[in-house]
């Protein structure tokens, strides 16, 4: 997976950005070369012969000077005018207007320090957001706490997630693939690990994913897992985490209904493996320093029961 946009735009919107960016870079290189050429020319100019009265040259040529200044200014204005037209055109393409009252296809909410995505059918997922490739989705960007910024360099413009202000963007991937995203507005201790992935699926894959995510959590079988399910509520995990089909309905932490189906924990800081889950349960502050999950103070037995339970949440 290549990060960043410049060489790999993967949607019509970012293609527009990339081509404008290329124009700007070429223009900048040209202007810089011009200034550098002037500097070099003045460096290599032969030093004036001794005795020649110094320091008078420019004072003498007022009319010529005014003309040169006017030309220079006009050229800058014209070039910038052209750039402005290109800018407005690209903006219209990227932020295509929407019908008033259009409902979003996806609502993404930034939390310190993880991303939640909500689908119209009620499915909620964290950090690994599936979309159907080739469809342009309207995404609403919200924040639950401080200002974050939703950014998938290859697929879409940035949009700040500001509390109390809905931002809308178009999100689209030309073809199936995994596209890295990250929070791009400083948002506190773990701003660095507020990653997410957009997973663009074929239509069939997307609908089967959506269907499986819509299932409530599987009822735990086996004594350890059942004990874990009981502990989950007893230890107040449910105050922060939701697990569909159980009494756990908290919204301050990631929805764990299908936590096993995800590749990463802690918004990208670690892969989702039995070991990292165990660390997350016994010492969340070591797993992700400063994160908003307090140490639950579990005994080893409780931790392994909870881990067994989480291990059933496919």
């Amino acid at each position: 997976m290549v990060w960043g946009l410049l060489f790999h735009p993967q949607s019509p919107e970012t293609e527009a950005i990339a081509s404008l960016l290329a124009d700007v870079l070429v223009l900048s290189a040209a202007v810089f070369s011009l200034v550098a050429a002037l500097v070099v020319a003045s460096l290599v100019r032969p030093r004036r012969a001794r005795g020649e009265p110094e320091g008078r040259r420019i004072l003498d040529a007022k009319a010529a000077r005014a003309r040169i200044e006017a030309i220079w200014t006009c050229v800058t204005v014209i070039v910038l005018g052209g750039l402005f037209l290109l800018t407005v055109r690209a903006m219209a393409k990227i932020d295509a207007p929407l019908e008033p009252g259009t409902a979003p296809d996806l609502v993404v909410t930034g939390h310190q320090w993880w991303w939640e995505a909500q689908y119209p059918n009620g499915v909620v997922t964290t950090g690994e957001i599936h979309i159907p490739a080739g469809h342009r989705l309207l995404v609403r960007i919200d924040s639950a706490d401080v200002i974050h910024d939703f950014w998938v360099p290859q697929l879409a413009r940035k949009m700040d997630a500001v509390p109390g202000l809905d931002g809308y963007i178009w999100l689209e991937a030309n073809k199936p693939g995994r596209y890295q995203g990250m929070c791009s507005e400083f948002c506190g201790a773990q701003h660095a690990w507020m990653h997410f992935v957009i997973i663009a699926d074929s239509e069939a894959d997307f609908s089967s994913w959506l269907k499986s995510q819509a299932q409530p959590a599987t009822q735990p079988s086996g004594s350890a897992a059942s004990e874990g399910a009981r502990l989950f509520l007893e230890k107040k995990c449910g105050d922060c985490h939701a697990i569909a089909g159980t009494a756990a309905k908290g919204g301050n932490g990631p929805d764990l209904t299908h936590v096993l189906s995800r590749e990463f924990l802690g918004a990208g800081i670690a892969r989702n493996t039995p070991e990292t889950v165990a660390l997350w349960l016994t010492n969340p502050q070591a797993a992700k320093p400063g994160n908003r999950m307090p140490d639950p103070h579990l005994s080893d037995a409780e931790a392994s029961a909870l881990a067994a339970y989480l291990g059933t949440l496919k």
Binding site: L38, G55, W72, C183, S184, A189, H191, A192, P289
Partner: protein
């Protein structure tokens, strides 16, 4: 000298030097902070700093460099030079002048005192609400930050009023506003900008403190406040502030390039007027810091147009300097080398600025390392380079001794290589998607090597700066004695002794043109002879 003796100094030259020296001290502190940040980022997944430490240090680095280094050092040069350049014996309000410095220093110390509470500010130098609000920044750091900035802004406003009044009322006979050196012009405009911009910062700081300490709700969306209120207020101050940190540097360059090109500035009037244009425009572009907020495309494109417009007067300046050099014959002193490098580095910073005015590019690159590159090309490649040029240029006037040119050249090359090595790669990192202000990153193609290049180059840069400090100390003792006018320059400060006497001038030379000392040295070819003949006259 006893402490009491120091505190009661009101001579503008002492106050100016206090400003400059305290800024230098904070520059070293801010530089050490920067090195800590670069060390932590040298490779993926390093753990030299905890996330919380990293966030405190980058916040302190930005706040220090902006409020304790760049802004005050430019004010300090203004306080030192403006009276000399306009042929005055002192600032108009000498005691206020001293007060402004001590307030500034108190602000700096208060900011650093926050470390003693165990929690320095950690919300970034623009401290966006609601992150800076109590629930998300419970430590005392943000309170210290806000109070320190209130002190500093009071200092800035006092100094600015003083400078503006001095320029307006204390000019020597014959020194009309059409004849003052461009550094004076730009300091004058700068002072007016400070007077209009800083109160807006004060208002936002007071709102923040009210929220934090008095349970107000200015920025709390859940209770009818708005986080965007902070952004609008802060950037209405913040964008003019960006120019407050560069205009006097433009002024310095406008003094130095002509002298070392042996040529009067090309287009004095357009250089002065473009400054005024920049000042006006800078109040109408603040939203370009907020393009990634959902503000609506029409609204945003107005600010995009205004932001692009600023490139016009800035381009005029670049052209003025380049044309002055082109028409002259250069003397490549260390001071001039830095001035020439300024021209190139600042052009790069200006061009990346235009890139950000191109809204969709901003939608991609804002808050990435591309911004980090941009601000450092403008503030370091721009202002700090100009300050190095200015130090080599005016050190003889301030101390009576020359800075060593051999050390100077070494300093120059280390800084040029270190600076570009550190910051040029940040453009590429931004294009590769690296967000700014992250305390670490995973193993992502190219990020590791590019960050390593940046960190190693930063060490070279630090070496260059240490060499500069060595040069200051050594030359102060052993430097060649400079005499009053070592550069064969044209403005009035060179008519005073080096260092100037308490009242600056025994006798003020007659001012009949923009280059009174040229006139004095070349009575047959004096500028005023030309200026008084309209056909060929100056502008």
């Amino acid at each position: 000298m006893s402490v009491g003796n120091w505190i009661t100094r009101v001579d503008h030259k002492h106050v100016g030097l206090f400003y400059i020296l305290s800024a230098l001290a904070f520059f070293l502190v801010g530089g050490m902070e920067a090195m800590a940040l670069r060390a932590q980022l040298a490779m993926p997944n390093l753990k030299l700093l905890t996330p919380d430490q990293y966030n405190q240090i980058f916040t302190m680095h930005g706040t220090t460099m902006i409020f304790l280094v760049v802004t005050p050092v430019l004010i300090g040069f203004g306080i030192y030079l403006v009276p000399l350049m306009i042929g005055a014996s002192e600032m108009v309000f000498p005691r206020l002048n001293a007060l402004s410095f001590w307030l500034q220093l108190a602000g700096g110390l208060l900011l650093y005192l926050s470390f003693a509470t165990g929690q320095a500010p950690a919300a970034g130098w623009f401290s966006y609400a609601p992150l800076s609000e109590k629930p998300f920044s419970p430590g005392k750091g943000s309170d210290y930050w806000a109070f320190a900035l209130l002190l500093i802004s009071a200092a800035m406003i006092i100094a600015a009023i003083n400078l503006a009044v001095t320029v307006a009322t204390a000019r020597a006979p014959g020194m009309t506003m059409r004849r003052v050196p461009l550094f004076v012009w730009m300091t004058f405009v700068n002072s007016l900008m400070i007077v209009f911009a800083l109160p807006v910062l004060d208002a936002s700081l007071v709102m923040l403190l009210a929220d934090r300490l008095l349970h107000a709700r200015f920025f709390d969306a859940a209770h009818g406040g708005s986080p965007l209120l902070w952004q609008h207020y802060f950037w209405i101050f913040g964008h003019p502030q960006v120019y407050i940190m560069i205009l006097p540097a433009f002024g310095m360059i406008s003094e130095i390039i002509p002298v070392f090109s042996r040529n009067a500035i090309f287009g004095y009037t357009s250089a002065a007027l473009s400054t005024v244009a920049i000042a006006f425009l800078s109040y109408g572009v603040w939203v370009h810091h907020m393009f990634a907020v959902a503000l609506g495309t029409t609204f945003i494109s107005v600010f995009a147009a205004a932001s692009m417009l600023i490139a016009v007067p800035t381009g005029v300046k670049i052209f003025n300097w380049a044309a002055t050099m082109l028409g002259g014959s250069l003397r490549l002193t260390t001071s001039m080398l830095f001035a020439v490098a300024f021209l190139l580095e600042f052009t790069i910073g200006g061009l990346s600025g235009v890139a950000f005015a191109t809204v969709p590019v901003d939608w991609e690159l804002t808050d990435t390392y591309f911004v980090v590159a941009h601000i450092h090309y403008v503030l370091f490649g721009g202002t700090i380079f100009a300050l190095f040029a200015a130090t080599y240029y005016w050190f003889p006037k301030m101390t009576g001794r020359m800075l060593d040119e051999k050390l100077g050249r070494l300093h120059f090359w280390l800084v040029v290589i270190g600076f570009n090595g550190t910051f040029f790669v940040h453009h590429i990192l931004g294009l590769l998607g690296m967000p700014r202000r992250i305390y670490t990153y995973g193993d992502i193609p190219w990020w590791g090597p590019l960050n390593l290049i940046s960190t190693v180059s930063a060490a070279v840069l630090v070496l260059g700066i240490l060499l500069f400090c060595t040069n200051l100390v050594v030359s102060l003792q052993l430097g060649a004695v400079s005499g009053d006018d070592p550069w064969d320059a044209w403005t009035l400060e060179w008519a005073a002794s080096s260092p100037p006497a308490r009242n600056n001038f025994a006798e003020i030379p007659v001012v009949r043109s923009r280059r009174p000392l040229w006139d004095l040295k070349h009575p047959d070819a004096a500028d005023w002879l030309l200026e008084e003949t309209p056909v060929q006259g100056g502008d």
